[in-house]
């Protein structure tokens, strides 16, 4: 109590407090490394920042949080991880964040193939050369659905109708987003055309489709399943049928060479050192192989798997070539 009576003492007390806090903080930082100066270069040397280019609550955000929690829980990396949401500008904000951060692996991005679409549309000021791919931790494929009381029961009926009556049906898409490109690839492969209505989120697509303001929309398989009898899925864009919806054919089965899997893609700045990238990849691989994470993925119609950084990059480059072709036709 007595310091409160005297301002000078108070100030001195405060300085002592600051000094003590600083000392404790400093010790805290040095602590883990003090075991051996030889390992001073060891990665990670401080908390790792995971940038998610979306608002919190979406799939990419949730997966980033779950995986980083798992990595901490199992001590797969010696430091903690923090998720930072940087929505906006089709990912440009997230990339700008990454560029401002460390290039030694302490700043990474968790994204998906929306990144490739932004590159194909040349929206942001970034491309593949900005990134080092760390790997895919699983992914999921969408379905094309119509309302339950729609006249169309199979994808053939729908395609035939659209071929006979071009632009007669409305598709809910956000221009320049994944539904737009997947729909565009399918339309190009099958040779039909739809009209669009702007829908910039899964919620918008659902609202428009259920309200009868759109005829077709793309959904994550889990979004579709949660609607119960409200929607009817006509085609699944995965490579194989999904056990939860055994009656929905894949596009390939229906005779169209289209498939789309949207992976959980981990990226680091291009000049990240090998050792750091390898440490991160190893931790991610171990996390995705954890039974709890795998359960979460399966319950949300995502497939848990690991694809190494180099393979993921090769896959992404293939997809980018295809997306650029679609971008030419829809721009």
């Amino acid at each position: 109590m007595y310091y409160l009576s005297n301002k000078r003492t108070l100030r001195r007390g405060f300085c002592t407090f600051l000094a003590t806090a600083g000392l404790v903080y400093g010790l805290g930082l040095v602590g883990p490394n003090s075991a051996g100066q030889a390992q001073a270069e060891e990665f990670p040397s401080k908390s790792i920042k995971i940038i998610v280019p979306f608002k919190p609550g979406g799939r990419t955000d949730v997966v980033a949080r779950l995986i980083s929690e798992k990595i901490q829980e199992k001590g797969l990396l010696s430091q903690s991880m923090a998720v930072v949401n940087a929505d906006g500008g089709a990912g440009a904000n997230a990339v700008a964040q990454m560029r401002r951060g460390d290039t030694d692996g302490h700043t990474i991005i968790h994204w998906h193939h929306q990144a490739l679409i932004a590159m194909a549309m040349e929206l942001g000021d970034f491309d593949m050369s900005d990134f080092r791919s760390l790997g895919y931790t699983g992914g999921g494929s969408p379905v094309w659905a119509v309302k339950a009381d729609s006249e169309f029961n199979t994808i053939e009926q729908l395609v035939d109708h659209l071929k006979a009556n071009p632009r007669s049906l409305v598709e809910a898409v956000g221009i320049g987003t994944i539904p737009h490109f997947v729909g565009g690839m399918f339309a190009n492969a099958a040779g039909f055309e739809t009209r669009y209505v702007t829908a910039n989120s899964g919620a918008d697509r659902l609202r428009l489709l259920l309200g009868g303001n759109a005829d077709i929309a793309l959904f994550a398989a889990s979004e579709y399943l949660a609607q119960g009898d409200g929607l009817k899925a006509l085609v699944y864009f995965g490579r194989e049928r999904l056990p939860e919806m055994p009656d929905v054919p894949t596009a390939t089965e229906a005779g169209y060479d289209v498939s789309w899997t949207n992976p959980n893609w981990w990226l680091a700045p291009a000049d990240t050192p090998d050792a750091a990238a390898e440490a991160l990849s190893a931790a991610l691989e171990a996390a995705i192989n954890d039974p709890e994470i795998a359960d979460y993925f399966r319950n949300n119609t995502l497939e848990p798997y690991w694809m190494s950084g180099a393979d993921a990059r090769a896959d992404a480059e293939n997809v980018l070539v295809r997306l650029k072709k679609v971008a030419e036709t829809i721009q």
Partner: protein, 493 residues
């Protein structure tokens, strides 16, 4: 439903609800920090809770966050959350007339009444209302927003020309960014920082909070006289008669606008405020510390949460960022909101409904108890208070997208806001134009895409047509009244 209430009164759940509501009120009251930030921050904590506790915590934060905004709106003319913009119109003038406690008490009462009325809609009519809301397509959204924009012209105080100028400026600032209708950059001058456009929060706290901070900082230090708190809060039995109808009307408007995903609490409060002004016998008093103004805005913004929860729990359609995070919290527990939620996890679905009601009651108790002390905030020396506010504004606008550009945007809009006020251009229409025009634009263009450019479609849509007629009436009403008045006078003679 009863089970859900019983479950809610388990110690752990009620504690989470109290904690969530309290945090929500505090964060909601701080300009710059919003309920959605708080919910995003607490999201990781809910991973390890059981799903019912998780939703009670988050619902408490949601309700508290919208309610807390009225405190700073009334006392400092800085809306604590975007939904409290209209509360500044009459709440702050009331505070200046030494009626701060009265304004706070009315705002709190209105908030609770709004919450409870919308709860009845939520608990009793969810499926039917969700069906109804779904019928609203792009044309209806567009017509609704046009109606709100026209009401804005009526809202403009003083010079109509200046009001329209402010609205047009607001709309102009909404243009840069990625054009959501074609996915291309627009007016960004090749600058990737502008790709995001100007965010709502930086613009809003810039125009209201920062400009106010600068203004107050320049003003000579004045010691504001604050009346000694009264023993009893100034709410009277007669208020039921004076404000009852307004509260009910505003709550219903709030619920119905809240129903529409993507429209939200800000617009609900605005529409109900304009409606209150239109039907009032003394519209000229609005904006100068008129009690019904505070009531209309606060009843509607709280009611809109109940409305917004309807499509969320029945269809899994989130109405706002806050609700999208709520869905994220559920998916972590392997629960997908949608029609199946009531079958798969009834305890969670009903838990949300029950928690919403109880959170409103808790909010009432807390704010009621604290209001006397809260009103004393204005006794804190301005220099100290404003510094704290400034810090939160910077932190808040940075935290939305972890982007420092947003902080500069906030500062810039603070200066713009100051300039506008100096030129006696009202800030209300400016911010409202900024909020509404992107929705109007996107929905109109979506409509035209859908119909291949055919505008006449709007005439075949009953709700859209209704909104347009209301909009025309809003404009024509003063003229009609002017015509009728001489006629009536003659009759009287």
């Amino acid at each position: 439903m009863l089970d859900a209430f019983i479950q809610l009164f388990e110690l752990q759940n009620i504690l989470f609800l109290v904690l969530g509501t309290a945090l929500g009120i505090v964060v909601g009251a701080i300009p710059g920090l919003t309920a959605s930030m708080l919910i995003a921050l607490t999201l990781p904590l809910t991973f390890h809770m059981d799903p019912v506790s998780a939703v009670t915590l988050l619902i408490g934060e949601y309700v508290g966050g919208i309610s807390g905004g009225l405190i700073t709106a009334i006392l400092l003319r800085m809306p604590g959350t975007p939904a409290s913009i209209v509360t500044t119109f009459d709440g702050y003038p009331m505070a200046q007339q030494n009626k701060a406690e009265r304004a706070l008490a009315l705002g709190i009462m209105a908030s609770v009444v709004g919450g409870i009325i919308s709860w009845f809609f939520l608990a009793g009519m969810s499926p039917a209302l969700a069906e109804f809301a779904l019928q609203f397509g792009p044309w209806e959204y567009f017509a609704l927003v046009v109606m709100a924009l026209v009401m804005l012209a009526v809202l403009a105080q003083g010079s109509l020309a200046k009001g329209l100028l402010a609205a047009a400026l607001g709309m102009a600032f909404a243009i840069p960014g990625i054009d959501s209708s074609i996915g291309q950059a627009r007016l960004t001058f090749g600058n990737s920082a502008l790709l995001t456009g100007f965010g709502l929060l930086p613009v809003l706290i810039g125009a209201f909070a920062i400009s106010q901070v600068i203004r107050d900082a320049c003003a000579p230090q004045m010691t504001q006289k604050v009346p000694v708190p009264q023993k009893r809060l100034p709410i009277f039995g007669s208020d039921v008669k004076t404000h009852g109808l307004n509260m009910i009307r505003s709550s219903v408007i709030g619920t119905w606008i809240g129903l529409l995903p993507g429209i939200g609490a800000n617009i609900a409060a605005l529409v109900s405020y304009s409606t209150a002004k239109q039907v009032s016998n003394e519209p000229e008093k609005f904006g100068k510390g008129h009690e019904p103004g505070v009531v209309a805005g606060e009843a509607a913004n709280n009611a809109s949460i109940g409305g917004a929860l309807i499509p969320l729990i029945t269809m899994g359609i989130p109405g706002s960022v806050t609700e999208a995070i709520l869905i994220g919290a559920l998916t972590i527990h392997n629960l997908q909101p949608g029609p199946l939620l009531f079958q798969n996890a009834p305890e969670v679905a009903y838990g949300i409904i029950a928690a919403y009601l109880v959170a409103n009651v808790i909010m009432l108790l807390m704010m009621w108890g604290a209001v006397k002390y809260i009103a004393q905030v204005v006794r804190i020396p301005r220099s100290a208070l404003l510094s704290v506010v400034l810090v939160f504004c910077v932190v808040g606008s940075y935290a939305v997208n972890s982007n420092f550009t947003d902080v500069w945007v906030m500062v810039a809009f603070g200066i713009i806001g100051l300039g506008l006020e100096a030129a006696r251009v009202p800030l209300g229409p400016f911010v409202i134009g900024f909020v509404l025009s992107p929705i109007a634009e996107e929905q109109l263009r979506a409509s035209l895409m859908m119909t291949d450019g055919d505008v006449t479609e709007i005439l075949s849509r009953p709700y859209a047509l209704l909104f347009l007629i209301l909009a025309v009436l809003t404009v024509a009403w003063p003229a009609v009244v002017a015509r009728l008045k001489p006629a009536r006078k003659e009759e009287m003679k």
